[in-house]
C-alpha cells in the first residue's frame, strides 16, 4: 500500500518532492502525485514516511488502501 496525495488538499509547495528517497513524487496538473510503483513507504530508508512528515497540511499524504502493500 503506497502513499497517495489528496489533490484537493495539496498546496503544491513541493516539499515532499525533494524529500522522497525514491524520486516517486512529481508535479502533475498543478499538484503533486506519488508514483505507486516507486513508493516504498520509506521502509528501509527512514523511520517515518518523508512526505507525511514534511507535508504542511495534515492528512494529505495518506496510504492508498486500494493498492497492495509494498
Amino acid at each position: 500500500m503506497p502513499f497517495k496525495i489528496i489533490a484537493s488538499q495539496c498546496t503544491s509547495c513541493s516539499a515532499c518532492e525533494q524529500e522522497c528517497p525514491n524520486v516517486a513524487i512529481s508535479e502533475k496538473g498543478g499538484t503533486f502525485v506519488i508514483d505507486p510503483k516507486k513508493c516504498t513507504e520509506c521502509i528501509g530508508h527512514f523511520e517515518e514516511p518523508q512526505c507525511v512528515a514534511v507535508c504542511p497540511v495534515d492528512n494529505t499524504c495518506v496510504i492508498d488502501t486500494s493498492l497492495p502493500r509494498y
Partner: protein, 520 residues
C-alpha cells in the same frame, strides 16, 4: 511606467540624458513635475548618522535595512522557494486568494530561470529597484538548489543588484558558507522566541534530519539552529535583521529577551511586527481567536527595545512575490506571462544615472530637515505626539487623502520627526463599503494621531477628521515630510503656548487584521 521611454533614455549611450531620466522618475511617481528644488551643498553622508561607513555602504540603498532608503529605493521578491520545513501557528499555506497580501502567500511560483528574467525586467522598468530578496513563499533554505541557482543567475546578469534572503533559520548553519560565497550580505532570520516553552506555543512541528519533531524538542532545535546561524553570519560580517512576530499573551514581553539575545550575537536590526490574525486566514491563531497587538502595544514594545539596538518600523509584512517600493505592490505588472513577453535590455549606466538623481533628492531632503530642525532647538516642551502622512514616495507629502492605501506615522518632539510606523487602510473589498465606512476605517487606523498631512483632501472628510480631533493639514503639499512636520510642530507648540489650542492625549489605534488588496 512605459519601458520604451527608458529604453530611449538608455539609447543616449555614454552621455545619459538626465532630462529624460528625470521625466521617467516623475512618471514613475505618477506626477508630471520634477522635484529636487533646493539643492544641498553637503555630501551624501548627511543621513549616515552614527553608522560606520562600511555598514552605511551596505544599507544606504536597501529599503528594508534603512528607513530613510525606503522612501526612495524599491525591492523585489521572487517566489522560487515554495517548500517549508517548519509549521507556524500564524501561517496557513493553503490560503491562496489573489487579493491576499501577507507573507507566505504568492500568486505563482517561479523557476530560477523565470525569476532571473523577471529580475531583469523589473530592474529595467524600475531603475531604483536595488534589492532582490528570496523570502519564500516557503523557506529559501528548505529549497537551497532553487534559491542559490536564482542568486547565481541574477548575480551574473545584474551584478549591481544586492542579494538578500529571509529564513526561519532551521537550515541556516548548513548554508552560511554558501551565503558568504554568493556575497549575500543581508540575511533576515525570523526569531520569535529564545525559550522552547514559548516556542512550543508558536511552532507545532519542525522537519529536521528526515524526522518530524514536535513540542519542546522542536522549539529547542529550531532556536539552537537560529542562534547558531546568527552567530556564524555576524562572524562573517553579514548584516542580520531579526524579524519577530508579536503575539500578545504568548511572546509579547518575551521579545525583550529575544531582543537582548540577538543583539548580543551581533544582529544589526530588529523588526518587531504585529501578528496578522483573522479567522478567514485559516491559521491556528486566526481560528482560535488569538488577537494581534494594538498600534500602542506594538509601539510601546518597540520603544522598550530601541535602547538596545536599531528597530525597523517601516516593515510592510509583504508577500514573497512583492515588487516595488515597500508601500506599493507592482507585482501585477510582472506576471510570468507579461515578463516572458517583454524585450528586456539591462542598462547598468542608465540605472546608475537614475540612482545618482535619487541620491541628490535624498541629500536635499535631509538638508531641508536639518535646516528646519535648527529652528526647533530653542523650543522647550515635553510634548510628544504622532502625525499621519499620506505619501507615495521620495519622502514627500504627495498623496491625496482619499487615495492613500496607507499612512506613515511620525513621532514629533523637540528632538525632531521620527518615523515610528505605518497604518494600512486599503481593506479587502473596501469597494463594497460606502465612503463613510472607509473614512471610519481610516480614522480608526490613525486615531492616535493629532494631525494628518496630505497633498489634498475634500471638504467632507476634512470636517469628519476635525470632529474626530485629527487636524487635516494640506498646506505642505508636495513638500518634504520631515521638514514639513517639524514646521507644523513649531506652529503647534506656538498655538499651545498662546492658549489658542490645548494639548490633549489621543486614544488607541487599530492595526488592520483582515485581508488586504495587494495590487494598486
Amino acid at each position: 511606467m512605459d519601458v520604451s521611454a527608458l529604453d530611449e533614455a538608455s539609447l543616449a549611450g555614454s552621455a545619459v540624458n538626465i532630462g529624460e531620466i528625470m521625466q521617467a522618475i516623475a512618471e514613475h511617481k505618477g506626477c508630471g513635475t520634477s522635484g529636487g528644488s533646493g539643492k544641498a551643498s553637503c555630501g551624501s553622508q548627511a543621513s549616515q548618522g552614527e553608522l560606520p561607513t562600511e555598514i552605511w555602504e551596505k544599507v544606504k540603498n536597501h529599503p528594508c535595512y534603512s528607513e530613510e532608503a525606503h522612501h526612495h529605493y524599491a525591492r523585489m521578491h521572487v517566489a522560487v522557494a515554495p517548500a517549508c520545513n517548519i509549521q507556524c501557528n500564524y501561517c496557513n499555506r493553503k490560503y491562496d486568494c489573489a487579493n491576499e497580501s501577507r507573507p507566505g502567500v504568492v500568486s505563482e511560483k517561479l523557476t530560477p530561470e523565470q525569476a532571473a528574467k523577471k529580475v531583469l525586467a523589473v530592474a529595467s522598468t524600475i531603475p531604483q529597484m536595488t534589492v532582490l530578496g528570496i523570502a519564500g513563499p516557503g523557506d529559501p533554505l528548505a529549497n537551497p538548489k532553487k534559491t542559490f541557482m536564482t542568486f547565481e543567475l541574477v548575480a551574473r546578469a545584474a551584478p549591481d543588484i544586492k542579494l538578500c534572503l529571509s529564513t526561519n533559520g532551521l537550515m541556516l548553519p548548513d548554508h552560511v558558507d554558501t551565503i558568504a560565497r554568493f556575497k549575500i550580505d543581508h540575511v533576515t532570520i525570523t526569531i520569535n522566541m529564545v525559550d522552547p516553552a514559548i516556542g512550543a506555543k508558536i511552532y507545532p512541528w519542525i522537519f529536521y534530519n528526515h524526522k518530524r519533531y514536535t513540542g519542546l524538542e522542536a522549539a529547542k532545535i529550531l532556536n539552537d539552529r537560529q542562534l547558531q546561524g546568527l552567530e556564524m553570519l555576524t562572524e562573517r560580517g553579514i548584516l542580520c535583521k531579526i524579524n519577530s512576530v508579536m503575539i500578545p499573551g504568548i511572546n509579547d514581553q518575551h521579545l525583550i529577551e529575544v531582543n537582548k539575545a540577538v543583539k548580543s550575537r551581533g544582529a544589526f536590526l530588529h523588526n518587531i511586527m504585529p501578528l496578522i490574525s483573522a479567522p478567514e486566514h485559516g491559521t491556528v491563531f486566526g481560528l482560535n481567536g488569538q488577537r494581534g497587538p494594538t498600534a500602542q502595544e506594538l509601539k510601546a514594545l518597540q520603544d522598550v527595545c530601541k535602547g538596545e539596538m536599531n528597530m525597523m518600523r517601516h516593515c510592510r509584512q509583504c508577500r514573497a512575490d512583492a515588487v516595488g517600493l515597500l508601500g506599493e505592490d507592482r507585482s501585477a505588472e510582472f506576471t510570468t506571462e507579461k515578463v516572458m513577453a517583454m524585450d528586456v535590455k539591462y542598462d547598468l549606466e542608465m540605472r546608475k544615472a537614475y540612482q545618482a538623481k535619487v541620491e541628490e533628492e535624498r541629500v536635499a531632503k535631509v538638508a531641508a530637515e536639518q535646516e528646519e530642525l535648527a529652528g526647533l532647538a530653542s523650543e522647550m516642551s515635553g510634548i510628544k505626539l504622532l502625525v499621519a502622512v499620506a505619501t507615495k514616495a521620495s519622502g514627500l507629502i504627495n498623496e491625496h487623502f482619499g487615495h492613500a492605501k496607507e499612512f506613515q506615522v511620525y513621532e514629533l518632539s523637540t528632538t525632531g520627526a521620527k518615523l515610528v510606523g505605518h497604518r494600512r487602510v486599503d481593506h479587502y473589498c473596501r469597494g463594497g463599503y460606502g465612503e463613510e465606512e472607509s473614512l471610519a476605517t481610516i480614522i480608526r487606523a490613525i486615531n492616535d494621531c493629532h494631525a494628518v498631512f496630505v497633498a489634498k483632501i475634500g471638504g467632507c472628510p476634512k470636517s469628519n477628521l476635525l470632529k474626530a480631533g485629527i487636524e487635516p493639514v494640506d498646506q505642505y503639499a508636495h513638500e518634504f515630510i520631515e521638514k514639513s512636520a517639524i514646521a507644523w510642530f513649531k506652529s503647534y507648540l506656538e498655538r499651545v503656548q498662546s492658549g489658542e489650542i490645548q494639548y490633549v492625549d489621543r486614544g488607541e489605534a487599530a492595526i488592520r487584521q483582515s485581508a488586504l488588496i495587494s495590487a494598486a
